[in-house]
């Protein structure tokens, strides 16, 4: 039995088709990465899977229970860290965690020690009595994760869990996730815009405009792109783009995907006719996979939260 099973899932908000029919399975114990540009429909899919939104079409099950007809059952098997904050700003950090522990029926005697452990992991133990409203954005995020990791569910959904966190905190959270994966049979469903996090996943699905455009292991995906990536900066990008019909403009410069980068660059210098000011060659990475499937780099899709079209238009 799959931990998550999604068949022809659709969701529209009025005119907007957020999810346009996706199919995939996540195996028990798997860490499944969900990638895609802003607005691709990742969070919407998660909302349906955790019973917060109703699908407009298709079906889905989590831990073997249908997300429409067996909602209470589904909720007993899942845990979440949402993308948007879901803390009570007017309660203290400690009370937020206590509330969670009660709602999730944690054994009473385990609540106090666990609370201390998770707060220490995210470095908020000394602020446990402060109201959440006095926290910085990153501190709220840390508290949110601490709360999500107080107990372990069968299926753990993490929607961009570490966005905006400092490197040490991210590292210690990932350390925990690794141990969790090793010691427990837990399925982790993760969305992220960070490549290093995507690399940790057993399999990755890339979503764009409400559809799955790729689904495989990180290694297989990289192999499927197969080409080297040449990035150039020129003194006249517009002209260069005209002469290179296969090239894509990104925040890093003009990108070309070619079989043999080292052999291609000298030819490019000789034949382009537009002065090249900078050049780099890289072997396929997940970023390239992302780029080739969505037309954007992961970084591009992250630095423009909410307004990708606007910024993309500015750049053209």
């Amino acid at each position: 039995m799959s931990a998550v099973e999604v068949r022809g899932l659709k969701k529209s908000y009025g005119e907007i088709e957020a999810v346009k029919g996706v199919d995939f399975d996540v195996q028990p114990g798997e860490t499944f990465g969900f990638l895609g540009p802003n607005g691709a429909g990742k969070s919407t899919t998660i909302k349906i899977l955790c019973t917060l939104a109703k699908a407009s079409g298709g079906s889905a099950s989590v831990a073997g229970f249908d997300v429409t007809s067996q909602r209470d059952q589904v909720r007993r098997h899942i845990g979440l860290v949402f993308q948007d904050t879901t803390l009570d700003n007017y309660l203290t950090a400690e009370l937020n965690l206590r509330f969670h522990a009660e709602l999730y029926g944690m054994p009473r005697e385990s609540v106090a020690p666990r609370l201390e452990q998770v707060l220490k992991m995210v470095g908020l133990w000394d602020r446990k009595d402060s109201k959440v409203i006095t926290f910085s954005g990153g501190m709220k995020r840390r508290l949110e994760i601490a709360r999500g990791l107080m107990h372990s569910p069968r299926v753990l959904f993490l929607d961009e869990p570490t966005v905006g966190l400092d490197p040490q905190t991210r590292a210690s959270i990932w350390q925990y996730i690794h141990e969790l994966r090793q010691q427990e049979e837990i399925t982790i469903f993760l969305t992220t815009h960070y490549m290093d996090e995507a690399e940790q996943c057993d399999r990755i699905a890339i979503m764009d405009h409400g559809l799955l455009v790729a689904l495989d292991t990180p290694a297989a995906l990289k192999a499927s792109v197969g080409t080297d990536r040449v990035t150039i900066r020129t003194s006249d990008d517009e002209e260069a783009l005209k002469r290179l019909p296969d090239a894509i403009q990104t925040g890093d410069g003009i990108v070309l995907n070619v079989e043999d980068g080292e052999g291609y660059v000298p030819k490019l210098f000789a034949e382009l006719g537009v002065p090249i000011t900078n050049v780099s060659i890289s072997k396929p990475s997940l970023d390239d996979v992302f780029l080739s499937y969505t037309g954007r780099t992961i970084r591009d899709s992250e630095v423009n939260p909410g307004m990708p079209a606007f910024f993309a238009a500015m750049r053209r």
């Binding site: 917060l52 709602l103 220490k120 992991m121 969790l180």
Partner: protein, 285 residues
């Protein structure tokens, strides 16, 4: 930062105890939030004070002996008690729209408990807060000659608790689908004053124009105000004519609706509205 020992995977059992814990913590949170926010708690007491001591005292000079041997403010007290319960209960229900706007509602809605437990917790929380507030209003009542006995205090508290539960459930059923605080503010303004003005909270049900006497009988609040007033009047010694005028029986086509039935009606409405609210939240996005 230290490393954290891994929590083992646990699937919470589907037990009544777990739902009871959820209900309790939802109530507790509402209480903590309310008593932390003293401004709100106090501002909700201003209204009954205004009604009783300002409006009541002012109108007394106008009505003079129209209320016979009893103080107009004693007459108004049951209505003021019910109205302040209405406001507090509805504001309590409204808090769920804030919870939604600030995201916290999601934390509750994905928990491994029945949605009905969350909603029940909210309704009980609202009822508890409104009843606590009513205790203070009842203290004010002592200054306007409400003839308290131990029995009357208990009766009033029980009636207020029942009423506030129903009203919070009513509020929850209304706000379930509302996503913006803005919208709910407007809606409440539209609802609250008409509900209290059309309930007989501030005037007796005798000698009303026909249209008004009909509307009043359709207002659920009427069936809560009347038992409260009847309880207070039972402790007053009054000539029958005055009693008839100030606290006439609540009738349907000339038939006296007994108090137990009025309270029963409020309870049935409370349960009905709870079911509506639960259904609404089960479909909620």
């Amino acid at each position: 930062m230290t490393t954290l020992p891994v929590a083992s995977v646990v699937v919470p059992k589907r037990t009544f105890a777990l739902d009871a814990r959820a209900i309790k913590i939802v109530v507790q949170r509402d209480l903590i939030r309310t008593f932390q926010d003293r401004t709100r708690f106090i501002s909700q007491l201003i209204q009954p004070v205004l009604f009783l001591f300002v409006l009541g005292s002012g109108l007394s000079s106008l009505t003079g002996s129209a209320t016979g041997p009893i103080d107009l403010r004693t007459f108004m007290f049951p209505g003021v008690l019910a109205t302040s319960t209405l406001f507090t209960a509805m504001f309590s229900a409204m808090s769920i729209v804030w919870d939604r706007e600030f995201g916290f509602l999601r934390e509750m809605l994905v928990a491994p408990v029945r949605r009905s437990s969350i909603i029940l917790g909210k309704a009980l929380g609202g009822a508890t807060i409104a009843t606590a507030q009513a205790v203070i209003v009842m203290v004010l009542g002592a200054f306007v000659h409400v003839p308290y006995t131990f029995g009357l205090v208990l009766t009033l508290l029980a009636e207020v608790f029942l009423l506030s539960f129903t009203l919070t459930a009513f509020g929850l059923a209304i706000v379930a689908r509302i996503t913006q605080v803005q919208t709910v503010m407007g809606l409440m303004q539209m609802l609250l004053l008409p509900l209290s003005f059309l309930s007989g909270a501030l005037y007796p049900l005798s000698n009303l124009p026909t249209w008004l006497s009909i509307v009043v009988r359709f207002n659920p609040l009427t069936y809560a105000v009347h038992p409260v007033r009847t309880a207070v009047f039972a402790h007053l010694t009054l000539p029958d004519t005055v009693r008839q005028r100030l606290n006439p029986p609540l009738t349907w086509f000339g038939w006296d609706v007994p108090t137990w039935m009025q309270l029963g009606l409020v309870a049935v409405m409370g349960i009905g509205l709870m079911l509506v609210a639960i259904r609404q939240f089960q479909r909620v996005e």
